[in-house]
Symmetry: C2
Subunit: 194 residues, 2 copies
């Protein structure tokens, strides 16, 4: 059975995947629904069937990331001490950044996209809680700056040089560097001499 | 004497300043020459008189930053030891990032802009040298990842929360956090107990 219409669940995901590829190349502001239609090889009205605006598409693109962030922030806030909260948040954030490398890189520096996302009160609240969990390792301006640096570094700091690294290797190095910046001790694990 | 034409040296700089403001709000891809003309309050052809394309304008915008980077990279490469080279490069980069906060933030995460800039061989070479000077503090993958994080963190890591900080305070905290990440010892200065 051959049909010219793309089937609903698949095509929705194909548009999302195409959008991520195009955002990475041209930024959100530089990507139109027409470009996404061209990338998938359908008409613009086929895209419109699923997403009326680019904003709707962007929200669909980041929804899984937001779900993950929601879970990670809530888990971190359940810990008692500030270092334990920061360590848990850091681990959760690194997992999300590594698992969504392209998207994380796209989101972090695009002012238009960030502004649009932060205009959703739920997103803005989530980002504030994430920031606080990391910044509280050093109350005051120093903690804010370290949190800014670590969060920007983790989101934007995966360049072409390290893009093909194994997830586990990348995760380990990102965690180690972030802990050093924040002055967090690594959770005790059997070392080589144990 | 009233003239409808804007004078050459002033207006060129006014277009550059307006461009930086608009890039920060809408990203490079989301900013047209028409928007820059509207922001300054002139016609599009007045902008065209100075800059034929957006690319020309972007190059004019980043030229002072590139000049600074060229000086800093060359100065750092003149040092003998790897830590001294990294420390010198770090200090120079932090000065540039703090002195050009808005622009640094705009540049770092905008894939279209970065791609366009890196297509200039001179820029690409300069960024590679900058990266190497920082990454060499820890030869191998770990050093690359730390350099990625520190450079992305320094460029993108100045959020609204810390935007109004005094240059000196911001510089001191950024340097301290970067040194911790890279495992660099701070240059000896008289401490409070000395």
């Amino acid at each position: 059975m051959v049909s010219t219409a793309v089937r609903a669940p698949d095509s929705r995901q194909r548009f999302i995947d195409a959008a991520i590829r195009l955002f990475a190349r041209h930024s959100f502001a530089g990507t139109s629904l027409q470009m996404i239609a061209d990338e998938v090889g359908v008409t613009k009205s086929a895209v419109h069937h699923h997403f009326r605006t680019r904003e709707e598409l962007l929200n669909a693109v980041i929804e899984p990331l937001l779900d993950g962030l929601r879970v990670a922030v809530t888990a971190a806030e359940a810990h008692r001490s500030r270092p334990a909260r920061a360590e848990c948040m850091l681990t959760g954030f690194v997992d999300l950044a590594v698992g969504n490398r392209v998207l994380a890189h796209v989101l972090v520096g695009d002012p238009a996209t960030i502004e649009m996302l932060r205009s959703r009160p739920e997103v803005s609240d989530l980002v504030d809680r994430l920031f606080k969990l990391i910044a509280d390792t050093d109350p005051g301006v120093g903690g804010w700056i370290k949190a800014d640096m670590v969060l920007a570094g983790l989101s934007g700091g995966i360049s072409a040089r390290t893009r093909d690294l194994d997830d586990d290797v990348l995760r380990r190095h990102l965690l180690e560097a972030s802990r050093r910046t924040l002055g967090l001790r690594a959770p005790r694990r059997p070392g080589p001499a144990d």
